[in-house]
């Protein structure tokens, strides 16, 4: 783990493109934008797409909001795999934990769970007001999702934002990556969705084909568990991985305030 930049071997960093290459790139990107814009504006204006198909069978979906009907019923397979992708991303991020650090609290050890620069009183006061409101908004978005814009993803994102604010304000500590409950919550959404997808199969239905009278209830149950799972997974992704105590000294002299190209 020694590696100072000079000892990193014979590889050189990728050079930034010169002014001529950048100008050429700009022209190419402008041409692409012009072409794309032309194509988009030339689309026929009267195409209704799949809206009539969806509204024609909305009554069978168990919910009144067409987007929720598509997400959790008509194209439920997409959403099921998407919850799997979210879970995979968390597993992939955690699997990049530096050697010997697995199981600890995410963040550098010196200020584990502390915000950089110490707790900010203004931020703490703000978050004290905002966090309960965020929970309220999340519950509202979840409840309203079956018949108006809203649903599990919006509600989960608001929950995750509240959790990240609590972490930044130093009012909550991220859980240790080896502890059981965050992993259980992160997996719960995917498992609930799979359980709902399997629910109709003993009755001779296909995978993800909900029993007609139960579709609304099943969707609401899945959305509730998904909200918690999405919120927890997103917040855990932001919290990151535990970092080793003696991170090697900054590689290049003084800290640059400007991000190089």
């Amino acid at each position: 783990m020694a590696a100072n930049p000079e000892a990193a071997g014979p590889t050189r960093p990728e050079p930034a493109p010169g002014p001529a290459a950048r100008a050429g790139l700009a022209v190419a990107c402008l041409a692409l934008a012009a072409g794309l814009g032309r194509v988009v504006l030339d689309l026929p204006a009267d195409a209704a797409g799949l809206a009539p198909v969806v509204s024609g069978r909305l009554a069978e979906s168990g919910v009144d909001n067409p987007v929720t009907a598509v997400l959790l019923n008509f194209r439920g397979y997409d959403t099921l795999l998407e919850t799997g992708v979210l879970l995979l991303a968390l597993i992939a991020v955690w699997s990049l934990t530096p050697a010997g650090c697995w199981g600890g609290v995410p963040g550098p050890p010196a200020r584990r769970g502390e915000p950089p620069g110490g707790p900010d009183p203004v931020l703490r006061g703000f978050v004290r007001w905002l966090a309960p409101v965020a929970v309220l908004v999340a519950v509202y978005l979840l409840a309203v999702g079956t018949h108006q814009p809203g649903g599990a993803f919006q509600a989960g994102t608001v929950l995750a934002a509240a959790a990240v604010l609590l972490l930044l304000a130093g009012m909550a500590r991220p859980p240790a990556t080896a502890s059981l409950w965050p992993r259980l919550v992160a997996v719960a959404g995917f498992l609930a969705f799979v359980a709902a997808a399997l629910a109709g199969m003993p009755g001779g239905r296909e995978f993800l084909e909900y029993p007609l009278g139960l579709a609304g209830t099943l969707i609401e149950l899945v959305e509730t568990v998904l909200t918690l799972a999405i919120g927890a997974t997103l917040a855990l992704l932001v919290a990151g991985v535990p970092e080793p105590p003696a991170a090697k000294p900054p590689p290049t002299g003084p800290i640059k305030t400007e991000l190089p190209r």
């Binding site: 050079p15 990107c29 402008l30 204006a45 990049l96």
Partner: protein
């Protein structure tokens, strides 16, 4: 006049800006940001195209797919950021190594 052309062209502009950033910048954080800008543009175009007919209302299928896409993009970004952090830890640099012109040498 519907807002469709405004949103669609804004999405197209985001795609072009992001693409330029992806190729013109070598810093990994800038590249990750560029990919996210491209993604934002694609979502904006897709959402606008789905609602270009004001008479029939928006098409819910693309909107549902955009919601799915946003979550996948966020997941991929988190993974990319941790990869960039590990590259920085391992090499002291925030750029990729230049391709070796003579593999096996």
């Amino acid at each position: 006049m519907t807002p469709f052309p405004l949103y669609a062209l804004a999405g197209v502009a985001l795609v072009a800006i992001g693409l330029h950033g992806l190729f013109a910048c070598v810093h990994l954080l800038r590249r990750i940001l560029a990919v996210n800008i491209i993604g934002g543009g694609v979502f904006l175009v897709f959402g606008a195209v789905a609602a270009r007919d004001p008479a029939s209302g928006p098409d819910p299928v693309p909107h549902a797919m955009v919601i799915t896409g946003i979550v996948v993009a966020v997941s991929a970004t988190a993974f990319a950021l941790v990869l960039a952090w590990r590259i920085h830890r391992a090499t002291g640099r925030s750029t990729l190594a230049e391709d070796d012109p003579s593999p096996g040498a």
